[in-house]
Amino acid sequence: MTSFLSAAWGVAAKDIRVELASRTAITTAAAFGVLTLVVLNFARDPTVVSLATIAPGALWVTAAFAGIVALNRSFSMELEQGGLDALLLAPVGRGAIYLGKYLANLAFVVVVDLIVLPVFVLFFNVAPTPALVGILGLLVLAAAGYVAVGTVLAAMTVRTRFAELMLPVLLLVFMVPPMLVGVQATTRLLGGRPMGEIVGWFWFLILYDVVFITLGLMLFPATVDE
């Protein structure tokens, strides 16, 4: 068990070190996220629709798009440099490789969310209340689920034609349940509703996470074994 976890951590640490060396992907994904927030701000008639009405949806659409950008990079980087073959040759279980890639992708998406959230607060005039901690929790829990799906999908789509298009076409459907739940819970958090009304949505996300991380561990070997 400890060797499994340390192998997974080794894979994750490798990805994070590569990213920290250049920081290109993180800054690009964050810039993309901020731009999406700007564009969504203009996707309304300001005399009819208030910012507060579209704020939760804007935040979650932005998070989903930025997440897809982040996941696309995860395996394309490996394939370009032949890293995936080296990883598969290493005496490390497929499950550990999956977990490592998953943790690195999740870290990446969470960092982008951490950059996007304050910009969202600024652009959409959201009051800086403790509710924001709850929203961050929702973003992380949702990401934990769809990154688990996306890591499996990205490992496959990277080997297809039109890889950059294939991942969102498949992944967006899987993002619908966490996004739908995220928007509902965010609306209630921003509206100052009592926690009892919101806690069920958190449990939904946790269940989604547990199921799809387990499924990812089971299915990932089928995506890399020749």
């Binding site: 499996v152 496959m156 789509t157 294939m166 498949l170 899987f174 619908v176 939904f204 799809f212």
Partner: protein
């Protein structure tokens, strides 16, 4: 199976389809002449006898893709993949019937072509997911990769369904409630129920015919490719 064996399967499938088509012609006759007109919805209610059985056949087809996909990952028998491919394609054909008859009925009865109602949303997402499944298959060149990758997506689709169902159900539903598969007795006069059940039988037979024919075509393509 030899080349001519695959052709025989296709021919058999086409015969079954022909029989099912005759059955559906009988359903039209029965629905229009042998079944009373519903009191409030009038003639528009007759579309139920096509819409609900087509929806049933589509969901059966997609469900069996998931089952065949899981079985493929264990047994690695290419025939299971050929079946999954056939069933996904036939499922999309039935979905086209479901998604065109639904709005035709919704316009006079609901007053709108489309509603973001749970069962509509769930089936629409399923259709989009299987469009992505087809796209993934087409973007892969090696039969081995295609079988493994699409099996992974097939299994994940099966697991996603309850999450989508649960999340979209949190919106209020205006879809007619189940009249057939519910704990109490069917809430429908016997003449209507008879027509509906006949139609479900005919559509199930049509599914079997289509999928058999399509399976034969798939097998033949494999043999020709060597």
């Amino acid at each position: 199976m030899t080349n001519s064996g695959a052709s025989a399967v296709t021919r058999g499938g086409l015969w079954i389809s022909g029989l099912a088509m005759a059955g559906i012609a009988g359903v039209y006759w029965l629905a229009l002449l042998g079944t009373p007109t519903e009191r409030w919805q009038g003639l528009s209610q007759k579309i139920l006898y096509i819409h609900a059985p087509a929806a049933w056949a589509a969901l059966l087809a997609f469900g069996l893709v998931g089952v065949a996909s899981a079985a493929y990952l264990f047994l690695r028998d290419i025939r299971l993949d050929t079946f999954a491919e056939a069933s996904a394609e036939v499922g999309l054909a039935f979905s086209a019937i479901m998604l065109t008859t639904g709005p035709l009925w919704g316009r006079p009865v609901w007053g709108s072509w489309w509603e973001w109602e749970p069962r509509l949303t769930l089936t629409l997402l399923l259709v989009l997911l299987f469009v992505g499944y087809r796209a993934l298959r087409n973007a892969l060149d090696f039969p081995e990769d295609r079988a493994r990758y699409s099996a992974v997506v097939g299994v994940m689709a099966l697991v996603l369904v309850p999450f989508v169902h649960l999340s979209v159900y949190l919106f209020r539903t205006i879809h007619p409630q189940p009249v057939l598969l519910k704990p109490s007795a069917p809430s429908m006069p016997w003449e209507m129920l008879r027509t509906l059940l006949t139609s479900i039988g005919a559509f199930t037979l049509l599914y079997i015919g289509f999928v058999t024919a399509r399976y034969g075509i798939g097998r033949r393509r494999q043999q020709e490719a060597g």
